[in-house]
């Protein structure tokens, strides 16, 4: 069965955008990189493989684009000092704190975490994208979470006082 590149892209666009949004920390750049994935996909023959593997193929392209972006920009954009803008709304402060915390993770741990939390990929898919075993993915995700938990203790403590859903969606 032939996979239409446009159908594949449209089905995964929100996941790609969310992944890029946290990977690069800027809305405009995330939008551009999401579009770049489409350009690349439309120029290439989509591999004739099962669904889960097609998504892994798509995210491998996305990951390479994110890594290229970081190499070009020397990982400058992510950290934003919280003290710089005291008038910033609380949600933006949390956003900036999350970006700062993510920037302290290794590239691989951050990507593994983002592919799970932002893109909703399963451990098997992430393993294919990053050339790891599913067990290694589980270890890295848990390690990344513990590091982020330590760095984001304040917003986490605040969030614990509000009803939550297991999925992370707002109740």
């Amino acid at each position: 069965m032939t996979v239409d590149p446009e159908v594949l892209f449209v089905a995964n666009q929100p996941r790609l955008f969310r992944y890029f949004l946290r990977a690069v920390g800027q809305i405009e750049t995330a939008r551009d990189l999401t579009q770049d994935v489409f350009v690349r996909v439309s120029r290439t023959a989509v591999p004739q493989v099962p669904d889960g593997e097609v998504r892994a193929w798509l995210f491998r392209i996305a990951r390479n684009l994110a890594l290229d972006h970081h190499r070009r920009h020397q990982r400058q954009p992510l950290p934003v000092a919280l003290a710089v803008d005291a008038g910033r709304p609380p949600s933006q402060e949390v956003d900036a704190a999350v970006n700062e915390a993510l920037a302290t993770l290794s590239d691989l741990d951050r990507d593994v975490f983002l592919m799970r939390e932002m893109a909703g990929l399963g451990y098997d898919e992430i393993a294919r994208v990053c050339d790891l075993t599913p067990d290694a993915v589980r270890s890295r995700i848990h390690r990344a979470r513990l590091e982020l938990r330590a760095q984001l203790a304040t917003p986490i403590a605040t969030r614990r006082t509000i009803p939550m859903r297991h999925s992370g969606r707002e109740p």
Binding site: S91, E117, G122, Y123, R138, I141, H142, R159, M164, G168
Partner: protein, 117 residues
């Protein structure tokens, strides 16, 4: 195996991945394991991008406005066309045609043969 390893099962549980129920039970029997479970769910909420950011992905929806503008343009064209047509038809029938003169042949009039015959 350190504490992080024993508690990895919590991440597998959160991510809806296969996990060993006895390992989860062991992890949750530890107060730190229970705290991790709650904190990691809170972390999931904290790290989600805001609604504004997600909305920024969508191209601005102009289709509704575009349809409205197209309908408005159609109405203007129809009303304008009708008004112009009315005006032209009114100006067309304002003047009566000139009077027709009828000439009658005199009684002495004769038809001559053609070709000089």
């Amino acid at each position: 195996m350190n504490m992080n390893d024993t508690h990895e099962v919590i991440s597998a549980f959160l991510d809806d991945e296969p996990f060993d129920p006895s390992a989860l039970a062991a992890a949750l029997s530890d107060p730190e394991g229970r705290a991790q479970l709650i904190d990691l769910i809170a972390l999931r909420h904290v790290t989600q991008p805001g609604r504004e950011a997600i909305a920024a992905m969508q191209p601005k929806r102009r289709s509704g406005l575009r349809a409205l503008l197209a309908a408005a343009a159609m109405v203007v064209a129809l009303v304008g066309g009708y008004a112009i047509g009315q005006r032209q038809s009114e100006s067309g029938r304002s003047e009566a045609p000139p009077a027709t003169s009828v000439l009658e042949a005199p009684a002495a009039w004769q038809r001559l043969p053609s070709g000089g015959q």
